[in-house]
């Protein structure tokens, strides 16, 4: 183990990347200066300026070719194409394009469709400027035994963990996680704990709804964490119609589950009412906590370990005025855990919270990004923050407020300054959703990467 790590460290440094697994071994995080902070710790990381941002984009009827696409934007200020769309790869259908994630070796980008349950696997290493569709997984539902809505694509060593949102029996929120090999072979389904089968977990409070959404890990604590959103019926429903439907509004997740990472067994179901969505775990080696935000109740929750090793959840801050349902969506934590940006969809704002005292986050900054805002991705050094607009096809605002954009900002620690933007409607692209960074530096030598990959996978 030690030898492998040493070789890995040497090789990855020589290649200009840091393999994330090293973080778990206590490597200083400052060696990496770019890349996103919401990525898997098992993953190779970009150390310099990112060259591209891939935007997984929802097709809109009547806009361009009307289908989902992976849009590549050049974000390197040194490039002649800086600030422009350099590639658009249509995949067919409106699949409810949502989240995407790289394999641990970063050679492939997996992108899911929450509606059609397809997973599109793009080759992003052969030519990072021009991804190609390598493979499409179409049997996600049948292979998994009924999981619907592939959401988070999260890198594990040599494999991908795909969280689900729903099921093929009632299109409700009960679901599971599905594990695949990096080559797209089905491995296992891990069902979320329910009252009917807690799978050995402790029901820590009043709820065990079996819902799912996001997944993150803290490998050194052998911890995996999942959150809970809602089923197909709701995430595909017109937002206004759903808000007026008393039955539908009862169908949101109220739980976070902590798992034994190694055995994939749920340990404890924690009550976190109001649809806890994105999860971000701390990067610093002495920080034994993860954060989530609840979409409906507009709070920041901390999932933390106490002195006895027990895991708990507690609300640590409000986001905006919860009585106005600002609807916190994506958030992005700084790599030194000192703060985070959080977006609120309804008012189109991003807010920066200071985390000097992690148990007591304080909002210190806010600004309007657009009429609506959903995703935020920050570079590892925190200097660049990128924003997109779309939440879900049928939840986005209607009429003039339905702006669809990619906006690039610089952050100096006090203020966000816009650098450029791409209008996704004007460019006939569609609804811009999730962003992922890529860089030429990662693939300077494909042969060398092959060896490095094998080492990373064997960790």
């Amino acid at each position: 183990m030690k030898t492998a790590t040493m070789i890995q460290k040497m090789r990855t440094m020589a290649l200009g990347i840091v393999v994330g697994a090293g973080l778990a071994m206590g490597l200083p995080v400052s060696t990496a200066t770019a890349d996103e902070t919401c990525m898997s710790p098992y993953m190779a990381k970009i150390t310099g300026q990112e060259d591209f941002v891939y935007v997984w984009t929802l097709g809109v009827e009547g806009i361009g070719d009307g289908q989902d696409k992976l849009v590549t934007i050049d974000v390197n200020p040194a490039s002649p194409n800086y600030g422009t769309v350099i590639d658009s790869l249509s995949v067919g259908g409106r699949n409810e394009a949502h989240h995407s994630g790289f394999t641990d070796d970063r050679r492939y980008l997996w992108a899911g469709g929450l509606d059609t349950n397809k997973i599109f696997i793009f080759d992003v290493h052969t030519d990072p400027a021009k991804p190609v569709l390598f493979k499409t997984i179409e049997d996600f539902v049948s292979a998994s035994g009924g999981v619907v809505g592939p959401h988070t694509m999260y890198a594990f060593p040599g494999r991908m963990m795909v969280t689900g949102l729903s099921n093929n029996k009632d299109h409700g929120g009960r679901t599971g996680m599905v594990e695949y090999t990096n080559t797209g072979e089905y491995v296992a389904t891990h069902w979320m704990p329910t009252d009917g089968d807690l799978l050995g977990a402790e029901k820590g409070g009043k709820y065990a709804d079996g819902y799912g959404y996001d997944v993150r890990v803290l490998p050194r604590k052998n911890l995996m964490v999942t959150s809970s959103f809602t089923g197909w019926s709701n995430y595909m429903m017109d937002f206004g119609k759903m808000l007026g439907d008393a039955e539908a509004m009862k169908r949101f997740g109220n739980t976070v589950v902590v798992w034994d990472l190694h055995t994939r067994k749920p340990r404890k179901v924690l009550d976190v009412p109001g649809a806890p969505l994105e999860l971000r775990c701390a990067w610093q080696p002495n920080h034994n906590w993860c954060l989530t935000t609840t979409a409906l109740t507009s709070k920041v929750w901390m999932i933390y370990e106490d002195e006895t090793g027990e895991w708990h959840a507690k609300a640590v801050a409000d986001i905006g005025d919860p009585s106005k349902v600002p609807l916190p969506v994506d958030f992005s934590i700084l790599s030194d855990d000192s703060g985070f940006f959080v977006n609120t969809f309804m008012d189109g704002k991003t807010r920066f919270f200071d985390m000097t005292d992690p148990h007591n986050p304080k909002q210190v900054y806010e600004t309007v990004i657009g009429t609506q805002v959903n995703m935020v991705s920050g570079s590892w050094d925190g200097k660049r923050q990128y924003f997109t607009s779309s939440l879900l096809a049928n939840w986005d605002k209607k009429g003039a407020d339905d702006e669809q954009y990619f906006r690039a900002y610089h952050w100096d620690g006090k203020e966000l300054v816009k650098q450029f933007e791409v209008d996704f409607y004007k460019e006939k692209l569609g609804r811009s959703h999730q962003m992922r960074f890529n860089a030429y530096s990662l693939f300077a030598s494909n042969n060398a990467i092959e060896s490095g990959t094998r080492l990373a996978s064997s960790d």
């Binding site: 409106r94 699949n95 409810e96 509606d115 059609t116 349950n117 997984i137 179409e138 049997d139 539902v141 049948s142 292979a143 035994g145 009924g146 093929n168 029996k169 009632d170 299109h171 409700g172 009960r174 069902w191 329910t194 009252d195 009917g196 089968d197 009043k206 709820y207 065990a208 709804d209 079996g210 819902y211 019926s233 595909m236 429903m237 017109d238 937002f239 206004g240 119609k241 808000l243 007026g244 439907d245 008393a246 039955e247 539908a248 509004m249 009862k250 949101f252 109220n254 009412p273 109001g274 649809a275 409906l296 349902v325 309804m346 096809a393 049928n394 986005d396 605002k397 209607k398 407020d401």
Partner: protein, 626 residues
């Protein structure tokens, strides 16, 4: 349990178990389950006086033991054994009043040629010494043509040994089977020679007695009469901060097949025979094919929607989780998904009554852009044709006819037509004359239903059956209110258990499409007088099909009763049948209690059958490239 008895079957020359003392200790009656094995089918037979009667006349609410026999049977471990065992039971009936009143023995001949009613009477006379108390009927049929379907229905095999020259029947060979049939005409056990013993039969019969008294091992039914009919993550009580989840594991959603054809051929108490189109007579093959299609999500343009995604079995074959439906790509449907229970009887389909039969009806959701969104008839037929797992199924079900627009509709209609549910507490009380079946509140509710509240003027109750609908469309004012009134009202929105917020209507409008109009029957007839008329729904199983009304506006039956009690929404076109009812709170509660008594006793069996159906998804035996 009988299952562990391992005596060898016939042919050894050793007397069967039933002739001697039982060699093992029986479990306590009621300490074990006797799961239903399907419906005990009806048929015409001849009694000892040569009268034409129905088997269901004999299955008269008592427990029935049925054996197939013939008078000239000589195998000591065959018919004589069952007759010997029946004779022992008859003897026991002499000094056991409960058994005398609650058990009926029926012997049906396998040899109509020789076992005429007269012969059967003589044969029965052999057993008169057992005593006069209790009934043992000896029945036969008028021909082998009449007998054959009965044997098929009960799965009783029979081989005749015939003289090649004379054509005379020399002997009849059959596997000994005795059927235990409960008061609801469901088969609960089938005995073979290896465990046909009077003591064991008595044990099972007493278990069924206990079950009827509510003391048996069957799971206690909720007030609605079902334990399975509930959303898998039940949100009952979500309005309260004290809400506690009671979610079911998806991996436990398993079932077992049910005899749907038998159910359709012998509808439960309270339902008339089903109207069957002459060109689409039910068969097992059609029902099985229709059931497979019904749960196949590949039957939509993007493989996400089967019929069952809106007509969810455990949610009353409707959808308890939303007011109005959502289709492909989340497109809004403006009406509530109606239940499919007892849809076989509906003369008008859809809330606006625009379709006349199930065979045709299915094409509307198949092709509707906001439902399953198939682009054309040919596209869908071609798609199914390409699925390896359907190969030959249409041809088998339709006498060689391949899949086509007609056969696809006929197959799905066949499955839907079998979803019959009745024999509710109300039926057992009203039609079954069981005074204990209905509680006082529900009885008072029934008096209001047919009297002061006038519900039965549209939700009809007939002398011998009840469909609780007049098959007509009426204007109760709800559609009028939604069309003419303010569609987006300030609304209390649930954020979490016990957490609510009044959300500004403008905020809701900013993220919602314009609410769709709905003028009901007018949209079909274009007659202004038909504005806002909607179909009278059946009320059977209504406790399982929340939310209510054509647009799912009311979450509870209490709200529905309250709406009608205030006379609907008054306006120029309001049906004259709708008027303020003047019911006090107690009377409204009684009406609701009555509505809860309309849940059929077989819904769990139908839900389990649905759970056993395969769910079609891409890559699952589809024969298509992944």
């Amino acid at each position: 349990m009988p299952a562990h008895v391992t005596h060898a079957d016939t042919g050894s020359g050793i007397l069967a178990l039933g002739y001697g003392p039982l060699e093992y200790e029986l479990p306590e009656p009621g300490s074990y389950g006797l799961p239903p094995l399907g419906a005990a089918r009806d048929a015409q037979v001849l009694d000892e006086e040569n009268r034409r009667i129905r088997l269901h006349d004999l299955y008269d609410g008592r427990i029935v033991l049925l054996n197939f026999m013939f008078s000239r049977c000589s195998d000591i471990n065959g018919c004589p054994l069952s007759s010997y065992v029946f004779n022992r039971l008859k003897s026991t009936m002499q000094d056991d009043p409960e058994l005398e009143a609650g058990l009926r023995l029926v012997s049906l001949s396998l040899d109509p040629e020789r076992d005429t009613p007269e012969v059967m009477k003589l044969y029965g006379n052999n057993f008169r010494f057992a005593g006069t108390r209790g009934d043992w009927d000896f029945v036969t049929t008028d021909s082998e043509e009449t007998l054959k379907p009965i044997l098929d229905a009960y799965g009783q095999d029979m081989q005749k040994l015939v003289d090649a020259k004379t054509g005379e029947t020399l002997d009849i060979s059959h596997l000994l089977k005795v059927f235990l049939i409960d008061p609801d005409r469901k088969i609960r056990n089938i005995y073979s020679v290896s465990f046909l013993h009077a003591d064991l039969l008595l044990n099972d019969i007493r278990s069924l007695f206990l079950e009827a008294d509510g003391k048996g091992a069957v799971p206690a039914l909720a007030r609605s009469g079902s334990v399975l009919s509930r959303p898998g993550d039940d949100k009952e009580g979500y309005e309260s901060e004290d809400y506690v989840t009671d979610s079911l594991a998806l991996t436990d959603r398993k079932g077992e097949g049910f005899d749907l054809l038998g159910l359709a051929e012998s509808p439960p108490l309270g339902l008339p025979p089903i109207p069957e189109p002459p060109d689409n007579i039910l068969s097992r093959e059609k029902i099985e094919l229709g059931r497979k299609l019904f749960y196949d999500r590949r039957l939509s343009i993007n493989d996400t929607f089967s019929c069952a995604m809106c007509h969810i079995p455990e949610q009353g074959f409707s959808n308890n989780e939303m007011a109005t439906a959502v289709g492909v790509e989340g497109r809004s449907v403006r009406r509530n998904a109606p239940t499919l229970y007892n849809v076989a009887y509906m003369e008008k389909l859809f809330h606006d009554g625009r379709e006349e039969n199930l065979e045709q009806q299915i094409w509307a959701p198949f092709l509707a852009r906001n439902e399953m969104a198939n682009p054309s008839v040919g596209y869908l037929l071609g798609k199914i044709r390409s699925f390896a797992d359907y190969e030959g199924m249409f041809e088998e079900a339709f006498d060689g006819r391949p899949i086509g627009m007609e056969t696809l509709g006929m197959a799905i209609a066949s499955y839907e037509r079998t979803l019959l549910s009745a024999n509710s507490p109300f039926d057992r009380w009203f039609y079954g004359k069981d005074e204990t079946a209905l509680d006082d509140a529900a009885r008072r509710g029934f008096s209001l239903f047919t009297g002061k509240a006038g519900c039965s003027s549209c939700h009809l109750v007939n002398r011998d059956h009840a469909l609780f609908t007049d098959h007509r469309l009426h204007n109760a004012g709800l559609g009028f209110e939604n069309s003419i009134g303010d569609a987006f009202k300030p609304s209390r929105v649930t954020l979490a258990p016990g957490v609510f917020l009044d959300v500004d209507p403008e905020v809701m409008a900013s993220v919602g499409e314009k609410p769709p109009g709905d003028v009901g029957l007018y949209e079909i007839t274009e007659d202004p007088a038909d504005r806002w008329k909607f179909r009278t729904p059946t009320l059977r199983n209504v406790a399982l099909t929340a939310p209510y009304m054509h647009n799912g506006q009311f979450s509870t039956l209490e709200e529905v009763v309250e709406f009608y009690n205030r006379g609907g929404v008054d306006h120029e076109l309001l049906s004259p049948l709708i008027r303020p009812l003047g019911l006090d709170a107690g009377e409204q509660e009684d009406l609701v209690a009555f509505l809860h008594a309309l849940t059929g006793d077989n819904v769990d069996a139908l839900v389990l059958d649905a759970f056993a159906a395969p769910v079609g998804d891409p890559g699952q035996n589809s024969g298509r490239d992944p």
